[in-house]
């Protein structure tokens, strides 16, 4: 619960009076404010600068140094003040956190000094307010990267003989500068990529003629030489790929990566070519495959940082490019249609169909203007000029936008990811805080039960110290308790709720004669039964009611339709105090309860295990067989 809101707790509790006339059950007692001290000023002396604040301000966060008794260690008896030998500048932020509930990060402060101070005062950095959180995280990340860089450079200098052969190989592949062998390998592969690309290009250059005036490309003239070159390159590439595959720490991930796909595509045509025979039918397809050899040029991207950056930015700009393409397509279709219908009338028109007009439109819009297709009619010329003008607009405009989007998107992407991660973290924090507070309530309930169980089973030596809850927390829990009483329902946590849902859906009531509890007319819920127990106990009337609600036991509620108060007999032996007259104010029908099971010994976890209740000795036999309807409903 945000501590700033703790100031409103008295108001929320006062407003709870609004529930009182509506509630049918009596309310639990309020926790007493045992030591109600007058609020006093505390002097905090931080390296000579004196800060003063109220004691209650500091106590808003009891799990920090200043809010707990830990600060007593720093109390100076002579000067009656708390002395801290720390940075007063950062302390200003810390104290503001107590005052306002928001922790801010001052920009001029060093991140590690700030972290140290927060750790000293016991404050988690996660609660930094949203206004400063991004800055804080950025600085922290920079710092972490700097640390990592330092570590890396350290590592690179020292030799690590402990790495396995495979790991050294992988490191050699990824960072060629680590060892001479890696560098040699790097340059050799680069050279062979270049050779292969040049070979592919030169293969198609015509050199020399053959009798018959037919020009022969070099590839066919020196077929053997080119084939040998190609084989050598492919062998080198294959060996390299296999070595990388062997050395990769995660082979599956390596196979899926882009570079490995490029590698495979680069060498596949050769092998396919080897396998396939020189069949006429498939040679056409085979020739197509050779096109893929050009992908070898992409292998250069391992050698060039610039190519990688380009590839990455194209990827990140993909949506802008896609939009450009889309708008271009729209414009092309529009103008092609218009030109086609405009030129339909003219004879010998080249605009034979709309798809044929696409070519004209594209050439005109990109201001190429080959001149192989020209409009002849007047309308066609008018629309043609509009087309070329709009082409300039459509193409020229987005390009600078994309270029400037470039850096903007690049940075923005990074920041958007950061913000998304922070938002998730922020929501998670909020959720944790919420469940924390509701869990705190449920936890304290269980602790309360444990304590009574301990007391009632008469083992005082096992009294374990429950977590001491602050006064504010106990008051808040009391408030939630009152709400439970008003509505006759309890708070439980999610798992319990789902368990109950499942159980209730496959539960068959073990009732013999009477219908289920909910349909019994005029019967309020088990609240009144609790009330009956409550009136029999003195001040700590919290106890039996909560015990009844315990998840540790199956409590069976006996509901008697008779008029006689048969209280004494149907009371479990655990209620040692005599009753003082149960008032039947549940519309005439009386309700008595009997706990058939004894609460389990505290060694078991308080999580609700639905065990069949062990029969308590002797208490069940006390139930009188009064002839009227007895409805047995298991409360689980």
């Amino acid at each position: 619960m945000a501590a700033g809101v703790a100031a409103w707790l008295p108001f929320a509790r006062a407003a709870a009076i609004g529930w009182m006339p509506v509630a049918n059950c009596p309310m639990p007692l309020a926790p007493a404010d045992k030591n109600k001290r007058q609020d006093e000023l505390i002097i905090l002396n931080v390296s000579g600068r004196r800060f003063q604040t109220w004691r209650t301000t500091l106590e808003r966060y009891p799990d920090t140094l200043l809010g707990s008794t830990e600060k007593e260690f720093f109390f100076n008896e002579d000067t009656k003040e708390y002395f801290f030998d720390r940075d007063p500048e950062v302390f200003r932020c810390v104290l503001n956190f107590y005052r306002t509930g928001k922790l801010h990060y001052p920009r001029y402060e060093c991140i590690s000094a700030y972290d140290d101070e927060l750790a000293f005062y016991g404050i988690l950095p996660e609660i930094i307010g949203d206004c400063c959180y991004e800055e804080y995280k950025d600085r922290k990340r920079e710092n972490a990267e700097r640390l990592m860089d330092d570590n890396d450079s350290e590592n690179n200098q020292e030799s690590l003989p402990s790495l396995s052969f495979r790991q050294t190989m992988w490191r050699a592949f990824e960072n060629p500068h680590t060892s001479t062998l890696a560098l040699v390998f790097y340059y050799v592969t680069g050279f062979f990529i270049a050779v292969s690309v040049i070979t592919n290009v030169v293969e198609t250059v015509p050199c020399g003629t053959v009798p018959g005036n037919k020009e022969l490309p070099c590839g066919e003239r020196y077929a053997v030489a080119f084939f040998c070159l190609d084989t050598a390159c492919v062998m080198i590439f294959t060996v390299e790929y296999l070595l990388r595959l062997f050395a990769a720490p995660s082979r599956y991930r390596f196979i899926r990566s882009v570079m490995s796909i490029i590698d495979v595509v680069a060498i596949m045509p050769y092998y396919i070519g080897l396998v396939m025979t020189n069949n006429e039918d498939v040679s056409g397809a085979f020739v197509t495959l050779r096109v893929f050899r050009v992908f070898r040029i992409f292998k250069f991207s391992r050698h060039s940082q610039g190519l990688r950056i380009l590839g990455y930015t194209l990827k990140s700009c993909a949506s802008e490019l896609g939009f450009l393409l889309f708008s271009l397509t729209m414009a092309i279709i529009i103008f092609a249609t218009v030109m086609f219908y405009a030129e339909k009338g003219s004879s010998a028109s080249k605009f034979t169909s709309i798809p044929a007009s696409f070519w004209y439109t594209i050439v005109t819009m990109t201001t190429l203007g080959y001149g192989d297709m020209v409009p002849k009619t007047i309308a066609g010329k008018i629309f043609g000029s509009i087309c070329s003008l709009s082409g300039v607009l459509v193409i020229a405009l987005p390009v600078p936008v994309i270029v400037s989007n470039f850096s903007r998107i690049y940075h923005q992407n990074q920041r958007a990811d950061k913000r998304r991660a922070q938002k998730k973290a922020r929501l998670a924090r909020i959720r944790v805080a919420k469940t924390g507070s509701s869990n705190a309530y449920l936890h304290s309930k269980r602790n309360g039960l444990l304590n009574e169980a301990l007391e009632l089973t008469g083992s005082p030596e096992d009294e374990h110290l429950t977590k001491t809850t602050s006064l504010i927390e106990s008051q808040h829990h009391h408030l939630l308790h009152c709400l439970e009483k008003t509505t006759n329902h309890e708070f439980i946590d999610e798992q319990m709720f789902e368990q109950n849902c499942m159980e209730s859906s496959m539960q068959n009531y073990p009732s013999t004669r009477s219908p289920s509890l909910s349909s019994h007319p005029g019967l309020t819920t088990s609240c009144c039964s609790r009330r009956s127990k409550k009136t029999t106990h003195l001040p700590n009337s919290n106890l039996p009611a909560t015990r009844l609600r315990s998840m540790q036991e199956l409590s069976t509620i006996h509901i008697q339709g008779s008029e006689q108060p048969s209280l004494t007999t149907s009371r479990s032996s655990l209620n040692l105090k005599a009753d003082d007259g149960l008032r039947p104010n549940c519309k005439g029908s009386q309700i008595t309860t009997a706990i058939i099971s004894i609460p389990t010994p505290p060694a078991l976890t308080p999580e609700g295990e639905s065990r069949p209740p062990p029969s308590s000795p002797g208490s069940t036999t006390n139930i009188p067989p009064i002839g009227s309807n007895i409805v047995k409903v298991s409360a689980l």
């Binding site: 509630a23 007058q38 708070f491």
Partner: protein, 225 residues
């Protein structure tokens, strides 16, 4: 017919103006963004002595109250949104906005949409230091949504639903659909003496005074401040 012609002329004129602006490139005139000054309400409460005389709190208690109040609402007034936010912090499992709305209306005695410190103190003074009669009066005022002096079943049902909403989903036993309605029936059977379907203030106070539990629970929050 003439009206139609006039309209046509006007439209054509507007279109011509639009074209002109389009051609000259002044389609978007610099829209003077009249920054509406966010009406920052600043409210200074009455003097301490006056409040002390009007309410039943001591000076020290008023000081503590005001410090907490001003800390949360530096402008000096609480509006309904803030009120709902604050109240929902106390009930994380359910939805307390409806009940907070009713509570806000009960505190906002002059119905001006915001709760000032005086309203706050007056309300708390009744709740924490008032007589049982005054407290019951306040509770009646809370239930009577339209402030007409009668609590009808519909009003009570709204209030009850709001209270049950605060419990949320994960309750034991499982919250049934008609639990609020049944609760309202119980309430009316207890309170509505002449069975006319509404509860007046006298019936309410009388019935509550007869119920020992209610009387006792009214004293529950004496020592809150």
């Amino acid at each position: 017919m003439s009206g139609c012609r006039k309209r046509c002329k006007r439209e054509i004129l507007k279109f011509a103006q639009y074209l002109l602006r389009l051609l000259t490139g002044s389609l978007h005139p610099d829209s003077v963004e009249d920054e509406m000054e966010m009406a920052t309400v600043r409210h200074r409460p009455e003097a301490l002595e006056l409040l002390e005389a009007q309410s039943k709190f001591t000076k020290k208690e008023l000081q503590i109250l005001y410090r907490g109040f001003k800390n949360e609402c530096p402008s000096g007034v609480v509006n309904e949104e803030t009120f709902k936010e604050i109240y929902s912090q106390f009930f994380p499992q359910g939805d307390s906005t409806t009940y907070a709305h009713f509570l806000f209306n009960a505190f906002d005695t002059d119905h001006n949409g915001s709760v000032s410190f005086e309203d706050f103190v007056m309300g708390l003074s009744i709740l924490l230091r008032g007589t049982v009669q005054e407290k019951l009066n306040w509770a009646f005022n809370l239930y009577d949504i339209n402030k007409d002096g009668y609590i009808t079943k519909e009003e009570m049902l709204d209030i009850m639903k709001a209270i049950y909403d605060m419990m949320g989903k994960c309750t034991y036993p499982v919250l049934k659909e008609d639990a609020p309605r049944q609760h309202v029936e119980t309430f009316f059977q207890k309170m509505d003496k002449n069975k006319d379907g509404v509860v007046t203030i006298d019936e309410f106070i009388e019935s509550c005074q007869k119920d020992e539990n209610i009387m006792r629970s009214m004293q529950l929050f004496e020592n809150v401040i």
